[in-house]
């Protein structure tokens, strides 16, 4: 009784199962639709497309001079892909391999 009275906020209650199912469903669908699978159109995953696009915006092509990866990293993180830089370096790395996964 004391405990209940202490709860002045009138906090909402929700079953854990319901909350978790919804959270995990949203996460899974996001990953499936927007992260993990390459698009049919160009064979790129969203993060790869963002990197490629950012590089083309910076005028970096196969023919141009070598540039530090940090320049692209900064652009991609700031403009298109709001996640950490480590992830981005890994993605760039994967993109450079002959058979990207």
């Amino acid at each position: 009784m004391k405990d209940q009275q202490l709860d002045f906020e009138g906090t909402e209650r929700r079953p854990l199962s319901e909350y978790t199912e919804k959270a995990y469903l949203d996460y899974s669908m996001y990953v499936i639709l927007d992260r993990a699978l390459p698009a049919l159109g160009d064979g790129l995953k969203p993060v790869q497309r963002r990197i490629t696009y950012a590089m083309s915006e910076l005028g970096l092509s196969a023919a141009s001079k070598h540039k530090k990866s940090a320049r692209t990293v900064g652009d991609v993180i700031g403009k298109f892909h709001p996640h950490g830089d480590a992830l981005h370096r890994i993605a760039t790395d994967t993109l450079c391999r002959p058979a990207a996964g």
Binding site: F8, S17, Y19, T20, E21, L25, L37
Partner: protein, 670 residues
């Protein structure tokens, strides 16, 4: 209390009904299109524009009554009609409201307001009264001019009553004439016609309806509930004479209050001894809002009276207005104690000390109230907290200083509570950092030692953790930042989860060993998950839920696990910054901004991460108990939680997950 919910927010956009199986199919087609090499050839199945049904008129209500009203009994319909009349009273056009329940379970509501409009609507080419009764989302409440404060904002209102009644008759007295219009099963059966003359000053509306039993679990009105609602309306609407007559029992009752909430509160407290004997009341009115409250302490009462209303609609779960009242009163009492040097050395009054057994009635009238929670019984308008708080603090401070004797008694009462609390806390002293294993370095602990008052926030990301540290109230809120995603511990034995640094730190910070049934060492009674409102945040929340359920189950069963809901959107309009927790709230805010000033265009940005907010914004939106939204997670032996989480997180159940995604993927909101 009863469900007023549907009046405030229609659950869906209405209109379009799509068969769920069909949606699944459509989703499957999207999958097929997106996944190269898919062998599914679903294109052959037809799904054309012709397959989409659009329901028109009142059909959606009749098809899915549960989305618009409470279908356990027809009471909610009565509320709709009564609220319509009360809205007239709120506008000052009506001072009498008579409700009569007939033997045939039909209900008649008579008011002496202006009468529903009978002239022809310029665009719709039908009379106003017909429009009100037959169209969803029709009403005079949107523009903000016809009605100053209105409970039902969405105007689904009384047309729902018509849709769910086998017969409805409406009489309007207006401009010296009496008109009648009748409906059967939501369709017009007798056109609007003048049936007689009345005095020029005799105006008003009478609605009598026969609810259709096929839509309701029970076709009988709950008389007790009706009476309670009518009484509340009379209490809150000063000068409105409300009467109720039950034809079956011959019972008659009338309520009439002259606008004194204190009188009502005394009545509610009955014989319990109240401090002060005459409740303290306050009232504040401006063009934008009206706050009215009455307050008294009743130390011996078993059931504390705490009623709050927004625009005459009960908010049973409280909300920002109640929080505002509480902090205003608490501040005033604290100030009073300080001013008079009443506090013993070293003693601090907490909100609980002051607010214990405080009985109150609070009525707030504001424009465009926002409600939260699944049942929409909680006010979430943030400005309400500040509004009520400022006013309550001033009024209470004034009262205390004008009645120093009673004020000192109140202060003594609060001090006694505080001393008792401290004594109790000494008995269960929280394990100090020095006796246990060293607390994790990342944990920013709170200063007070009482677990019952302490909260810990498990925050996603170091940067958000930093802001949260600045945003918290150091006294009772601890912050523990988590870096990246935590280990999936669902299938690990309790002994092994310590191998993950993050999980180990959580366990140490909480003061509970994994897998242990003993939670007496729990250092915080509120464990709040605070993750970004994006997909990765949801993932982290899922993993934490799994951790708690599997290895710290007693925390969940005892209701110690909470999820903090960060806002999804930020709306910048000129210098104003607003937050919206979800799409519905965003649209509401935008609509309001559009109505307020059209010059600066509001810009909506999506909050990607908590780290983007600066500490003051974070405090206001997610951490400060007065304005945040916290959801307690519960489990029930019957709801199959174990099995569900196993399906979501076990390594071997990928097949089940695939099936789950195929059947429910369309419900995801990204």
């Amino acid at each position: 209390m009863e469900l007023f919910s549907t009046r405030r927010a229609p659950y869906t956009g209405g209109g379009i009904a799509v068969n769920p199986a069909r949606q699944r199919r459509r989703f499957a087609m999207i999958r097929a299109a997106r996944i190269p090499g898919s062998t599914r050839d679903l294109m052959a199945q037809s799904y054309n524009a012709a397959d989409i049904e659009v329901l028109s008129g009142l059909e959606p209500v009749r098809r899915r009554p549960g989305m618009y009203t409470d279908t356990t009994r027809p009471n909610h319909l009565a509320h709709e009609v009564i609220d319509n009349s009360v809205d007239e009273a709120l506008g000052g056009h009506c001072n009498e409201l008579a409700v009569k329940l007939y033997k045939d379970e039909s209900l008649e509501v008579v008011d002496n307001g202006r009468g529903m409009p009978v002239d022809i609507h310029p665009q719709e080419k039908v009379s106003g009264v017909e429009l009100i009764l037959t169209r969803l989302h029709a009403g005079g409440k949107f523009s903000g001019d016809s009605y100053k404060f209105s409970g039902g904002l969405h105007g689904v209102g009384v047309s729902v009553v018509n849709a769910l009644s086998k017969h409805l008759e409406c009489w309007v007295r207006r401009g010296g004439k009496e008109y009648n219009i009748a409906f059967k099963d939501g369709r017009i059966s007798s056109k609007l016609e003048a049936i007689g003359t009345v005095g020029q000053r005799n105006t008003g509306t009478t609605v009598r309806f026969w609810p259709d039993p096929k839509f309701f679990d029970s076709d009988r009105f709950s008389v007790a509930e009706l009476k309670r609602v009518l009484k509340a309306k009379a209490v809150l609407c000063a000068g409105l004479r409300v009467s109720f007559e039950n034809e079956a029992t011959g019972e008659k009752q009338e309520w009439f209050y002259t606008g004194h909430l204190g009188q009502y509160l005394s009545e509610q407290l009955e014989k319990a001894e109240a401090l002060p004997a005459e409740p303290i009341t306050g009232r504040h009115e401006s063009a934008q809002d009206v706050v009215e409250w009455a307050l008294a302490w009743a130390p011996d009462i078993a059931n504390v009276v705490g009623e709050s209303y927004v625009n005459l609609i009960p908010t049973t779960a409280g909300g920002t207005h109640v929080n505002g009242l509480r902090s205003g009163i608490v501040d005033a009492v604290r100030e009073f104690c300080e001013f008079r040097n009443l506090l013993p050395r070293g003693l601090k009054l907490t909100a609980e000390d002051v607010w214990d057994k405080a009985c109150f009635v609070l009525s707030l009238k504001i424009r465009d109230p926002q409600f939260a929670g699944q049942t929409k019984e909680k006010l979430s308008s943030r400005e309400a907290a500040a509004l009520v708080e400022t006013h309550a603090r001033d009024a209470m401070g004034l009262w205390l200083n004008q009645h120093p004797d009673a004020g000192e008694r109140i202060a003594q009462y609060a001090i006694a509570n505080a001393q008792e609390r401290i004594k109790a806390a000494q008995r269960v002293q929280r394990k100090r950092a020095v006796n246990g294993p060293a607390l994790p370095g990342k944990l920013a602990d709170c200063t007070n030692q009482d677990p019952a008052r302490s909260e810990i926030f498990l925050v996603e990301g170091d940067s958000a953790g930093g802001s949260a540290k600045q945003a918290r109230d150091k006294d009772f809120q601890a912050i523990m930042p988590l870096r990246g995603k935590i280990l999936n511990t669902w299938e690990l034995p309790p002994g092994e989860i310590g191998s993950s640094q993050e999980v180990h730190d959580i366990s140490v910070a909480l003061g509970v060993d994994p897998g242990s049934a003993d939670i007496s060492g729990l250092r915080y009674h509120k464990v709040c998950i605070l993750a970004d409102a994006d997909s990765d945040g949801l993932h982290i929340a899922t993993l934490l839920c799994a951790l708690f359920l599997r290895h710290f189950r007693p925390l969940v069963t005892n209701g110690h696990v909470y999820v903090a809901m960060p806002p999804l959107y930020r709306i910048d309009a000129g210098k104003q910054v607003l937050y919206a927790l979800d799409n519905a709230e965003r649209d509401q805010q935008l609509a309001r901004l559009a109505a307020e000033h059209s010059r600066s265009k509001p810009v909506v940005t999506r909050f990607k991460g908590l780290g983007e907010m600066n500490p003051s914004q974070l405090r206001e939106s997610t951490i400060d108990p007065r304005t945040r939204r916290l959801v307690q997670l519960t489990i029930d032996a019957r709801d199959n939680t174990e099995n569900l989480l196993d399906m979501l997180l076990a390594k071997k159940r990928a097949g089940d997950r695939r099936e789950w995604l195929e059947s429910k993927g369309n419900l995801a909101e990204i």
